[in-house]
Amino acid sequence: MMNPCSRTAQAAEDAVRPVRGYSNHNHERHQMSGITTSVNASAHESREYRNRKRMQGFREDVTSFWFLLPILAVFVVLFLVPLIQTLYFSFTDFNGYSMNLHWQGLSNYRKVFSDPSTLEGLGFTILYAIVVMIGVTLLAIPLAVVVNHKFFGHNFVRSVFFFFSVPSLAIMGMVWKYIFSPMKSGVVNSVLSVFGIAPIPWLSNSGLAKFCVIFIAIWAQIGWHATLYLAFLQSIPADLYEQATVDGASPFQQFMHITVPQLMPGIVTSTFLLMSGGLKVYDLPFTMTKGGPGYSTYTVTQSIIQQGIGQSQYGVGSALAVLFFLATAVVVMLQLWFSNVISARFE
């Protein structure tokens, strides 16, 4: 069965064909009657042809529009309208209880920049996103290279690493909270006590709490990203390695000069996902530490939820959300630009 698009294209083609036939016939006549008439007629034909072509394009655009309409409607209702509303609320004193709003100018934005807890949250969010992105990338690529080799039980090993990323980070946070408990009875501390090591204040020390949250985020995401790299690795032609081996390249040289450049599209995809996911992180730090001790593992998303919804300061929460949206857009665009520059270098 012909789909609507190809049917439209076929109809357009049919509409154009007689014009071409007419044009050929006319050409013969003009050869006999004179050059001027021929030029005028062909200019008229090409104009007509262009008009028909334009109409055909317009008809195709209209058809495409109807196909895009559902997703466009979802985008407008669930994304664009709330975004504009958020922008509007960020300039008001909306408290969630009264629609009698008052214009506040930039005061909510000033509050965001003068609040030490929000700034601390921003600092940890950036640290988390960057360290997790680098950590996962540096560990997932070698892991993918290792599990790409055939050995006994390699499918099982691939599955085990992938399964780490199956449970949600919120559940991971709850489980790891008990493992990293600062009490003597905490899992890690119990193991350490066997070797005579005193309990370590894992989640009750600011620095260690940051380490624990980032460590778990890296641990949980390595497997998923290694699977992504594995898919890219398997598309690298084997003869590249064969030629390199014949030329006497060492495994490290092969990794650096064949594997890494060939993986570049995978690295761009993986780091993009890690960076955008890292910037909006909420579940893992919240379930593990609720943002503590103090504000050491506080995140921007937690701040938006806490101030906006929890404390009924929708104006401040919206201002923070707008700023965060812009900052994330800039960071992600910079990252894409940087990735493109690197990719171009390896091409």
Binding site: N95, G96, Y97, P182, M183, S185, S204, S312
Partner: protein, 416 residues
């Protein structure tokens, strides 16, 4: 198969009728002539049903349209959405976290002179009072205390929890010397309960009208609680309690107590069932120590959430709402609440409480000698989150008590 036009019309009419009939029967049921009272609760249907059934039995002309949203953030947001969206419930729950917003935006009816408020305890009225007007009806309260392991206290030659703070610190030192972990609390889930109790006693001694605190233009809960914080911090400054409490949840602390690894913890009646079920645990529940012998032993505690009536309600539905609140403060409902384990504070009614709770119930709950900072300041959510984070930094030794007070007040000021 071809059908006649008339046959098709008859069949279509029958099909439409079949669809409409069940809908029509919904409206034509027994509730058609009744006054419909909408009630949004944060107790689930199982807990609320006995009250609703009994009320409807006693008032056959009223039917309750019940809806539920779990406490606390979900409930508050549901109510907020319904109020702003003009779908306000007729009767709903008013509590620490939303009472200021409900009063500020005039969503709750003044209940001060209602006859059913006659039996409500003064502390419960104070909880929802603004400028002398009472906006909710709360009939029970809770008060925290010190849960202690009698066997472990005996090890250090102590029989009971000391009555004053200095004696409590001395008892902790004695227990520590005897190789027993004296006391634990959570600072991970929220701030300690002890400073609130001290501040409540201080306000009572100074004669401060706590119901006026939220009306002050400058909110200074940090400054108001500073003295109590300094006293409480002696636990850490004297190295009697591990600073790892910053990373311990309430569940962690409870587990340690149940396993006999700590002599005393600070908690409330919600944990009693766990202690009762713990095999071989010989436990008691004592009043929190007083700041000094000059102060009364207060507790950190609060009236339970109250019921409020939507301010724009009028006519029959308003009368029905008033009847419902009168019923909820009546003998049958209070008895049922008591059976559910609530410590009822309504005057001329005594709850039957767990044996260990008797002392705190009589001396703190019934007398109103309990205090919760969140209840008496504007923006209790801001206060709660700010004090939690600042207290964690204080216990870690990163800031002083003076800085704690300054930071909390700065956060409150920025949120006003």
């Amino acid at each position: 198969m071809k059908l006649q036009q008339s046959t098709r019309i008859i069949m279509a009419s029958l099909a439409a009728g079949a669809l409409i009939l069940p809908l029509a029967s919904c409206g034509a049921g027994g509730n058609a002539d009744k006054i419909k009272l909408s009630y949004l609760s944060w107790n689930n249907e199982q807990a609320s049903k006995p009250f609703i059934d009994e009320f409807e039995k006693e008032n056959p002309d009223i039917s309750i349209d019940f809806s539920y949203s779990p406490p606390t953030p979900e409930y508050i947001q549901t109510l907020q959405t319904r109020l702003v969206g003009n779908q306000a419930p007729d009767v709903f729950v008013i509590t620490s976290e939303n009472k200021a917003d409900l009063m500020n935006n005039h969503y709750v009816k003044d209940l001060t002179d209602e006859p059913f408020m006659k039996n409500i305890a003064q502390a419960n009225k104070d909880f929802v009072t603004r400028d002398g007007k009472v906006y909710g009806m709360s009939t029970s309260s809770w008060a925290s205390g010190i849960v202690y392991n009698k066997d472990l206290l005996k090890k250090a030659g102590t029989q009971e929890v000391p009555k004053t703070w200095d004696d409590f610190l001395a008892a902790c030192a004695k227990l520590k010397k005897a190789g027993v972990t004296p006391y634990l609390e959570t600072v991970a889930d929220g701030r300690s309960r002890i400073p609130d109790a001290f501040t409540g006693a201080k306000f009572a001694k100074d004669g401060t009208d706590v119901t006026s605190l939220a009306s002050k233009s400058r909110q200074t809960p940090g400054e108001d609680e500073k003295q109590a914080i300094k006293e409480w911090m002696k636990l850490y400054d004297q190295n009697l309690v591990t600073r790892d409490t910053v990373g311990m949840s309430a569940d962690d602390v409870k587990t340690q107590f149940v396993n006999g690894q700590v002599a005393m913890i600070c908690t409330g009646p919600w944990d009693f069932s766990t202690f009762q079920q713990a095999k071989g645990l010989n436990w008691g529940y004592a009043q929190m120590p007083a700041l000094s012998s000059d102060y009364e032993p207060y507790s950190q505690g609060s009236p339970s959430p109250g019921l409020a009536i939507y301010s724009k309600l009028s006519g029959d539905r308003l009368k029905a709402a008033e009847k419902f609140l009168a019923f909820m403060s009546g003998k049958w409902a209070l008895k049922q609440q008591s059976r559910n384990g609530d410590a009822v504070t309504a005057t001329a009614f005594d709850s039957k409480v767990v044996g260990q709770y008797e002392d705190v119930y009589t001396k703190n709950v019934k007398t109103g000698k309990y205090f919760l900072m969140n209840n008496f300041y504007k923006k209790p959510d801001v206060f709660e989150t700010a004090t939690k984070a600042e207290t964690q930094q204080l216990v870690q030794g990163k800031i002083s008590a003076d800085q704690w007070a300054k930071n909390v007040d700065a956060k409150m000021a920025s949120a006003q």
